[in-house]
């Protein structure tokens, strides 16, 4: 792989980490959804570029799934749900934006230190992709931990899955089985979540997880 190919792959993977940071501090529901769509677009570009440089046409399918499904269908569907539930107000977060961003930076540093050290012998592109992917996964986890609202937790989870797709495409020649399964699982996950959101709405008139927490069995 020559210099430019490598740099572009690097840029796109790095861009995904940046997008994860952008997701981390959004405090409005619609902005969060738009940002997630952008996250998925960057993922699609990154996967498509990998397909091109690795000469692996099946990866274009993964890229297309990321683009159509995650960048268009899911955000617009969530947009409608948010609208119907009337929860487009400011999102409650646990802890402020500042500490969360600092924690995010620490996680990225951690994943760089761990992955670059561990994969010293591997293909340079793969190892950096993997380091970025782990950062995206950890940032997704952080987002799930710092949000109280069910919809934004779901978005955190999906950004985490985007990181997994990045890792899977960075691993050269990984069988399609896994990529399809990842896409498929997101589909199922989304259906499940959709059902849950509606039921939660139906039962609690809120999608704030903190309110749901009040119905703990032990406190009856």
């Amino acid at each position: 792989m020559d210099g430019l190919d490598f740099d572009i792959a690097h840029l796109l993977a790095g861009g995904l980490v940046l997008m994860s940071f952008l997701l981390l501090y959004q405090d409005r529901m619609y902005a969060l959804l738009n940002m997630f769509a952008l996250h998925a677009v960057v993922l699609a570009l990154s996967v498509a570029w990998q397909a091109y440089v690795q000469d692996a046409p099946h990866l274009y399918v993964t890229a297309a799934i990321a683009l159509v499904f995650k960048a268009i269908i899911i955000p617009s569907a969530l947009h409608r749900i948010v609208e119907r539930l009337g929860i487009h107000r400011v999102i409650e977060t646990v802890g402020g934006v500042g500490p969360t961003m600092l924690a995010g930076m620490a996680l990225v540093a951690l994943s760089m230190v761990v992955m670059l050290k561990v994969t010293a012998g591997a293909d340079p592109l793969a190892r950096e992709d993997l380091a970025f992917a782990l950062s995206v996964v950890l940032l997704g986890l952080l987002m799930m931990a710092t949000r109280r609202n069910a919809v934004s937790q779901v978005i955190g989870f999906m950004s985490l899955e985007n990181g997994l797709v990045l890792a899977a495409t960075g691993a050269k020649g990984m069988p399609l089985v896994v990529e399809i399964s990842v896409a498929f699982s997101i589909l199922i996950a989304f259906i499940v979540i959709g059902i849950f959101l509606f039921r939660i709405r139906e039962r609690f008139d809120t999608v704030d997880v903190q309110v749901i927490d009040r119905f703990r069995g032990e406190r009856r």
């Binding site: 050269k172 020649g173 089985v177």
Partner: protein, 480 residues
């Protein structure tokens, strides 16, 4: 075409799930559910006698997973019988509608398919997909009552389970990265039997990192502390047959995945020893659950915490390793599955008879429902590890082998066991003895599955057939 039990084990639940999804009559579908699990069990047991197919790129039958398959299909069968009578009562009191019941039966078979696939998979990617499918089906089943508590439990389980499964996928990708340069790119680099052959040449650092992700990921599904938070809620709020299947089977399946990767790591001399990590998580789960048992007010939660405790013991035993501890771990796993699902059958009957799961509202069971009450006493005696029942034997093996190898850890282990023991008997005393409280209406459901489980556990404590012992010894040596 020759007889191929592997395919049957997967095909029967899948076809049954499709049929049950469209069959409206609940009596017929409950019967079909029982028939399908019986047929699957027959196919599973036939693995012992027919010649094994050679490991393929996707499926594998070896001495290790045969034990798990036999256990899974057996408990699935007995649970389906329990479920048939349990569900009839839930319909009567309108907790479930016929539509939901159709969904429930289809999901039950889909879960069986997913668990059998995870056990048979020779491809680490396929194994991951199967465990993910099992998670999703159980999430739907836990939320089936649609009460506040059930939805909260399902949501919590879904989020924690997904995070666990995501971490496990990352670990799987790392294993692929480690194997790629040695085995070659493509499908081969995910086939478990090929991986084990070549594991010695893998990059140890990458393999170590992969195992940590896999242990955390699949460990969430095993219910190991500190990743166990979903488990008590999911057990308490779902239908009781699902609690029995979750505790008795799904936790084992996740542990099986961890064991597969443990074997992989053990094949590489430079990789870190997986034992200490598993020992630490196992002990933490045991101690944590032991103390948490004291504060339970809900009978299903009580036994859910007891499941965390026992999965801790089993993980601990496999972490210590060596022929004796592995043997103890395997035996403990089988005994715990049987005893715990038997207890959940009993708890299901109790909750239906009394109309509550609160321990405070259940009193004097041995007086009001002698057959049920004494069965529960027997079950708790078994699960607490009193002689001469099966769990005593396996715990004894684990404790003695630990004393021989790591005396200090053995002391912690014994303390944990005693703490849990105390809590269980404290609660049992409240529930089983004293003046009866609440309804004394007889239970209409069948006690047979419960008695069968307890009978097997008791018999195993008194006499283990030599063929079984030889088999377990062999599997224990495979686990290293």
């Amino acid at each position: 075409m020759s007889y191929d039990p592997e395919v049957l084990i997967l095909l029967i639940p899948l076809v049954a799930a499709a049929l049950l999804a469209v069959l409206p009559a609940y009596r017929a579908s409950a019967r079909l559910n029982v028939a399908a699990t019986f047929a699957t069990m027959a196919a599973g047991l036939s693995l012992f006698v027919v010649e094994r197919p050679a490991p393929g790129a996707y499926l594998l039958v070896d001495d290790l997973n045969i034990v798990f398959i036999a256990l899974t299909t057996f408990v699935a069968f007995t649970t389906s019988i329990f479920s048939a009578t349990y569900i009839a009562h839930e319909l009567e009191i309108d907790r479930l509608t016929p539509t939901y019941l159709r969904f429930y039966h289809a999901m039950y078979q889909l879960l069986m398919f997913a668990m059998n696939l995870a056990l048979l998979a020779n491809n680490i990617g396929l194994m991951w997909v199967a465990i993910e499918l099992a998670t999703l089906t159980t999430v739907l089943m836990v939320g089936i009552y649609r009460t506040h508590e059930a939805l909260e439990a399902a949501w919590k389980y879904f989020i924690l389970g997904s995070v666990g499964i995501a971490l496990a996928l990352f670990g799987t990708i790392l294993v692929y990265m480690a194997s790629g340069p040695v085995v070659g790119e493509g499908l081969d680099a995910m086939v478990w039997t090929r991986l084990v052959e070549h594991a010695a040449a893998f990059d140890p650092a990458l393999l170590n990192l992969a195992f940590i992700f896999l242990l955390l990921g699949y460990g969430t599904k095993v219910g190991l502390a500190p990743l166990h938070a979903w488990l008590p809620d999911a057990h308490a709020e779902g239908p009781t047959p699902i609690s029995a299947v979750l505790s008795g089977l799904l936790l084992n399946v996740a542990l099986y995945a961890v064991l597969r990767f443990k074997i992989l790591l053990a094949a590489n001399p430079d990789a870190l020893a997986p034992g200490p990590l598993m020992v630490t998580m196992g002990l933490a789960s045991l101690l944590f659950a032991g103390f948490m048992l004291y504060r339970r007010r809900d009978i299903k939660r009580l036994f859910a915490y007891s499941s965390i405790e026992h999965m801790g013991i089993i993980t601990f035993a496999f972490g210590i390793g060596g022929p004796l501890a592995n043997f103890g771990g395997l035996l403990h796993m089988v005994m715990h599955s049987l005893a715990k699902s038997g207890i959940f059958f009993a708890v299901g009957h109790i909750a239906q008879a009394k109309g509550t799961q609160k321990i405070a509202d259940i009193r004097g069971l041995t007086v009001s429902h002698p057959a049920l009450g004494w069965a529960l006493v027997l079950g708790v005696v078994a699960i607490a590890g009193l002689p001469p029942l099966g769990i005593f034997m396996s715990e004894f093996l684990v404790v003695t082998s630990t004393f021989a190898r790591e005396p200090l850890l053995a002391i912690v282990l014994v303390v944990g066991l005693l703490v849990a023991f105390g809590a269980l008997f404290l609660r049992l005393n409240e529930v089983a003895f004293g003046e009866p409280v609440g309804s004394t209406a007889p239970v209409k459901a069948s006690y047979v599955p419960m008695y069968v489980h307890f009978a097997v556990v008791t018999a195993a404590g008194l006499y283990l057939p030599p063929t079984l012992v030889v088999w377990f010894q062999h599997v224990a040596s495979l686990l290293g």
